[in-house]
């Protein structure tokens, strides 16, 4: 059973994540929304680290809060969308009510699903995770399955990134004749 301090911190970061996410979807300005999303990602990184996924927590800060959100902010700056006009981009009253009801229905479904039992045959003991982390340290415990069992997916990911780079350049380039 985790101790009291751990639980308090977990709920604290969880509340920060949910509050920032709610603020994020209601902000009118894209820049404010992006910064609230960064706040959500930072609290998620804290939760990853509390769940002993140290490497994933570091990557979350570097890649998500660092790289991806900077790209978003660059595009907002590039297209000069920082000052939203008078007309809000949020849909009308009925659209909002329908979306809220749909969101609540989805939440209820997921919560009901989460009540089902986990397959116990796959379950590893609490000590196995701790032992694995101690033997291979934070990065090795991710790297070992990544470079042994999932090496094909890893190589395919590099092709995906290459395709994404080429695609982004081709789409973003101005046509010479236009």
């Amino acid at each position: 059973m985790p101790n009291f301090f751990y639980q308090v911190n977990f709920y604290l970061f969880g509340l920060i994540a949910i509050a920032s996410a709610l603020t994020f979807v209601t902000r009118k300005s894209p820049v404010a929304a992006a910064l609230w999303l960064v706040s959500t990602m930072f609290s998620l990184a804290a939760i990853y680290i509390m769940m002993d996924a140290h490497f994933v927590g570091a990557i979350q800060v570097l890649v998500y809060a660092g790289a991806i959100m900077v790209v978003f902010l660059f595009v907002v700056m590039l297209l000069n969308l920082g000052h939203p006009d008078e007309r809000s981009d949020v849909r009308g009253k009925w659209g909002r009510i329908a979306a809220g009801l749909l969101g609540l229905a989805l939440l209820a479904q997921i919560m009901t699903m989460a009540r089902s039992q986990f397959p116990p045959s796959l379950l590893q003991s609490e000590t196995a995770a701790v032992d694995n982390l101690r033997d291979l340290n934070a990065i090795g415990s991710v790297a070992k399955p990544l470079f042994t069992e999932h090496i094909l997916a890893f190589e395919l990911t590099s092709i995906l990134l290459l395709v994404a780079i080429v695609g982004a350049v081709v789409l973003g380039k101005r046509r010479a004749h236009a």
Partner: protein
């Protein structure tokens, strides 16, 4: 170790992302909502990796790579649309609407 709580948090964040996609019209904010949903799924991967071994964290790495690629291509598409239409408001981009 708080796996159920983490899964509940993940479900809440995912639903907030879904509501954001459904209620907003700004293409960039919709993209950011998709990122929020990917983050929520990453949280459940990490939570399950506490119980089923470190493979969950490997999947998180893959999801992050795909998210980065998706953000790059998606934002390039948005820039390309903005050049043609001078807007990123999705209600104005209705060429395929019957």
């Amino acid at each position: 170790m708080m796996v159920a709580e983490a899964l509940a948090l993940s479900a809440v964040l995912f639903c907030i992302g879904v509501v954001g996609v459904l209620t907003r019209r700004n293409a960039i904010i919709i993209f950011m909502c998709v990122e929020l949903m990917l983050n929520a799924v990453n949280l459940s991967f990490v939570a399950f990796s506490r119980m089923y071994g470190a493979t969950g964290q490997v999947f998180v790495v893959f999801v992050m790579t795909v998210a980065a690629a998706e953000a790059a291509v998606g934002l390039a598409i948005i820039i390309s649309i903005f050049r043609h239409r001078q807007t990123v408001d999705l209600s104005n981009i209705n060429l395929l609407k019957g």
